[in-house]
């Protein structure tokens, strides 16, 4: 299989890009609007807990990918079944991200372009990057995520003259149950999706640092998204509640001395790079996972056909963006909880029980 190695730092950066991914374009939980950044702090906490549980799994089975762990814990058949479930998860996550980015491009710039003209080149690049291996993906990611972070700092400066703190009030006008539900939704998307990394962790060259690296990446990404949400609410105000892409609108409103205007293209390009990384990682996990399910020696020839499937899935993902928003609000929390919390917890539980049982037998 892929013998490439990545460093813990590269892992952190990958986690950050992945988490920022398509959330930055289409956040979940915008119903809470001005309360969202607070809820995100809670969601980050929840997400970190979920991640830690999954990381415990890796600690118990060092050097094994998720699917290998499934095989060890649930046996060959059970393991394959769970692996198939997760393959679907990777496919769906990647397809959702791809659909969102293409929709963003279509709504803002390429209004007349047919979907395929955007999807195909995008996937070609993703497939190309994926085939090169995780090392290449990680190395390509380094400058991209750095650029994204720098953009954030510049954005803070750019909006100082149009940020109105009054827009950030009122706080706490949501019933607690709503806020909790939304926080779970965010803990799952985007934070929970990091369960995908369990397929990649074996590639890290310093195993002890893995847990720290992943958690640091999530905290970094969480902080980034939180800040963007904070700025968006402050600048755009209550109107942002009706926007499909709030952070895009936020950048449209920047106007410094009537000279620095129309800057929205830069964050647009930048967010797209985050999308690329996320989708590449999804395809990578999909390909490596499929190879493991069939006990193959290499994953590379699978990248193209799986990429084509990903493209098809993205093309027929949702009939409209409002349908997708509904999905994110109502269905995705359950979906994500199942994959990010329930299954890893189940695996951990069964593994512990089996280990305990084995010790009892041998004692």
């Amino acid at each position: 299989m892929d013998q490439g190695k990545i460093s813990p730092w590269q892992l952190t950066l990958l986690v950050m890009s992945f988490t920022i991914g398509n959330w930055i374009v289409l956040p979940a939980g915008t119903e809470a609007w001005q309360n969202l950044w607070l809820i995100m702090i809670l969601a980050l906490g929840e997400g970190l807990v979920f991640a830690y549980l999954s990381l415990l799994l890796f600690r118990r089975f060092p050097g094994k990918t998720l699917f290998e762990i499934f095989a060890l814990v649930f046996g060959s058949v059970g393991g394959k079944f769970l692996s198939l479930l997760f393959l679907w998860f990777f496919l769906q996550t990647g397809a959702a991200a791809l659909m969102i980015f293409v929709t963003l491009l279509k709504t803002t710039i390429f209004t007349a372009t047919p979907d395929m003209a955007l999807l195909v080149p995008w996937m070609l690049i993703v497939i190309y990057g994926c085939r090169r291996g995780i090392e290449v993906i990680a190395r390509s990611n380094e400058p991209l995520i750095i650029a994204t972070i720098v953009l954030l700092f510049i954005s803070v400066l750019l909006v100082l003259n149009i940020l109105d703190p009054a827009n950030l009030l009122p706080l706490f006008n949501l019933p607690l149950s709503d806020a909790l539900w939304i926080s779970v939704g965010i803990a799952v998307f985007p934070f929970g999706q990091n369960v995908l990394f369990l397929m990649i962790l074996p590639r890290v060259n310093r195993r002890q640092k893995v847990t720290g690296a992943v958690l640091k990446g999530m905290i970094g990404a969480g902080g980034y998204l939180l800040l963007i949400q904070f700025l968006t609410v402050g600048v755009v105000g209550k109107v942002g509640e009706i926007y499909v892409f709030p952070s895009y609108e936020f950048y449209r409103m920047i106007d410094i001395a009537r000279v620095l205007t129309r800057l929205e293209l830069i964050p647009l390009l930048n967010f797209m790079t985050m999308g690329f990384i996320k989708i590449m990682l999804c395809l990578y996990a999909l390909a490596v996972g499929t190879a493991q399910v069939f006990n193959l020696r290499t994953y590379r020839p699978l990248v193209f056909p799986l990429g084509a499937l990903l493209l098809i899935a993205a093309f027929r993902f949702a009939p409209s963006i409002s349908q997708h928003l509904r999905f994110v609000e109502e269905v995705n929390p359950y979906f994500g909880l199942f994959y990010s919390v329930f299954l890893p917890l189940l695996t951990l539980g069964v593994a512990l029980v089996r280990g305990w049982l084995r010790r009892r037998v041998t004692s």
């Binding site: 490439g4 372009t113 047919p114 291996g133 706490f172 755009v236 105000g237 449209r252 590379r300």
Partner: protein
């Protein structure tokens, strides 16, 4: 595995170089970005847009002020630009349609170029349309990605087409002139500048009423000029009333949007006037509520200076300055009072008292929300104005001649 691909394709049907060449050749047409191609000279740049009701009273009639780029004169050695046979630097186009969007598209039935709306500086809505409801007209402007919502929104009692047809005084394009006019609001602070997004923001607060500047055509000696001297009050999306310049400034006082301007007072100790220039103004607004109603506190702090006087009395003494301060505060209080009265008449919360309560005491707002009009009209308002005159200009005693007594 990641490395072997680099060693060329011994076992592949295409050589490594050949495949790369093929890929490059395939990508080049895509990179041209031709699908959504928009060449600059196939676009009609719309700088100003007027909206009004359609000819039969339904639908919309739009007016577009389109720039003729070639006719834009740069100040040349020959003095003011434009000889006899020159064309206007702008072109006015009208189109109608059941929705704003369709009207925009219908415009290309008359235009050789596709209308491009990203440069639209001003959106002018006719009062007829404003009385029927503004939001349906705005939907396209917000929803479509071309128009930018940080641009100005205005009303006009005249036909939007006539407004955009007025020859701009200093600028080349009327729309630009109007935009600049609004941006200079701080010179008098008697105009309320409103961008589309500001209108929307206020609209989304259930208890607030909107205000929009009104521009109209003024004819002096046969020549047409544009002037903004009133503000329209929009309640629940329809135009319901007006504020004159004094009331408009009262509104701006309360909203902490006074950015300059002058206040003329009766000169103390003599006949004549003194005009004070406003350097700095800060307003602190607090709204509190209980079950019976709301209490509003407005605290205004102003720093100003003596700009001009028509009396011969020396106003630079401490005594006089104090009196100037008091009179100025009086005038400001009057302006605020006038705005409050008008707002109460119209039962429109144009100041954002509700908005304040919504933000700072949400539960209270929720309780009072359903009968907000009543609470707004019955609000106890306490206004305090503090003026500090900091300077008197370059001279102290005026040079105005005072006729000797009994001469």
């Amino acid at each position: 595995m990641g490395r072997t691909a680099d060693q060329g394709g011994r076992n592949r049907p295409f050589s490594k170089g050949g495949l790369r060449l093929l890929m490059i050749l395939l990508l080049i047409p895509l990179l041209g970005g031709c699908w959504d191609l928009r060449e600059l000279d196939s676009l009609a740049l719309v700088f100003g847009m007027g909206l009004d009701l359609g000819p039969q009273g339904d639908g919309y009639r739009l007016t577009f002020e389109i720039v003729r780029a070639r006719q834009i004169q740069t100040p040349g050695p020959g003095g003011s630009g434009g000889g006899g046979g020159q064309r206007n630097p702008y072109w006015l186009l009208q189109a109608t349609g059941p929705t704003v969007f369709e009207a925009v598209r219908n415009a290309t039935l008359q235009s050789s170029r596709r209308l491009f709306l990203s440069h639209t500086q001003v959106f002018i809505i006719g009062e007829e349309l404003a009385k029927a409801g503004i939001s349906p007209a705005l939907d396209f402007i917000i929803r479509d990605h071309e128009p930018r919502i940080v641009k100005w929104l205005l009303l006009t009692p005249d036909e939007p087409k006539q407004v955009l047809a007025v020859e701009p005084g200093l600028e080349q394009i009327t729309a630009v002139a109007i935009a600049d006019l609004i941006q200079n609001y701080g010179i008098t602070s008697k105009i309320k500048p409103v961008r589309v997004v500001d209108y929307l923001e206020t609209r989304m607060h259930k208890t607030s009423a909107n205000t929009l500047p009104i521009i109209r055509i003024k004819e002096t000696a046969g020549k047409k000029e544009l002037i903004i001297d009133r503000t329209g009050v929009i309640k629940g999306d329809k135009l319901v009333g007006y504020l004159d310049p004094k009331e408009t400034r009262g509104l701006l006082w309360v909203q902490d949007e006074v950015d300059g301007g002058v206040v003329t007072v009766d000169a103390p100790g003599g006949e004549g006037k003194a005009t004070m220039e406003l350097f700095n103004a800060d307003t602190k607004l607090t709204v509190e509520g209980n079950e019976h109603g709301i209490q509003v506190r407005i605290e205004v702090k102003v720093r100003s200076g003596l700009g001009a006087q028509t009396t011969s009395v020396d106003l630079s003494t401490t005594n006089q300055i104090e009196r100037l301060e008091k009179r100025q505060a009086e005038v400001i209080r009057e302006e605020i009072g006038a705005a409050l009265t008008k707002a109460r008449d119209l039962k429109a919360d144009i100041f954002g008292f509700g908005e304040y309560l919504y933000r700072h005491d949400h539960r209270r707002w929720k309780g009072l929300e359903s009968e907000w009009e009543r609470y707004f009209v019955g609000a106890e308002v306490d206004v305090s104005v503090e003026v500090m005159v900091e300077e008197v200009g370059l001279i102290t005693k005026p040079t105005i001649y005072r006729a000797p007594e009994g001469g």
